[in-house]
Symmetry: C2
Subunit: 93 residues, 2 copies
């Protein structure tokens, strides 16, 4: 894990757009790629970064690879930010 990887993954606009697409549900690499004006190789690179950051996970089916949002890491990041923001008021309630 590691916040560096996570924030780095979130820093790229293409990768954030991919995550937003996946909010609606799982998509294959090809379906994700069709939303962008880039080669499949580049999309695969971005998916790799998101996967390494644990922001998505894949499930293989037929000759497709489907990607899905992994929200658990998103929660960890939110916790870190909330810690930063203010002595964590949530923990007191």
């Amino acid at each position: 894990m590691g916040f560096a990887e996570t924030f780095k993954a979130l820093a790229d606009p293409v990768r954030r757009e991919i995550l937003i697409l996946l909010k609606q549900g799982r998509l294959s690499a090809g379906e994700i790629g069709s939303h962008f004006d880039m080669t499949g190789a580049t999309i695969s690179y971005h998916l790799g970064i998101l996967k390494k950051a644990d922001l998505v996970f894949e499930t293989r089916e037929k000759n497709f690879i489907y990607y899905e949002l992994n929200t658990s890491v998103v929660e960890e990041v939110m916790l870190w930010l909330s810690e930063l923001k203010g002595g964590n008021e949530d923990a007191e309630k």
Copy 2:
């Protein structure tokens, strides 16, 4: 503003450490620098990135420049993440 700048700023461990230091209260550039094994020029570079991302602001006093945490942008990021995480349940309550 812009999430790219914000996440990029948060992606670097030195910059995250600076933000954590500033949680305790404002510090001068020199005081911040003394926590790291880097030149003042490099610290200044990182502070510039944090400033551009609106994660900190500065106030000048004597011949010091003090840096302070700006939590408002942190909240915006948290909102974006919470949107991503789940159709935003918070908005329904």
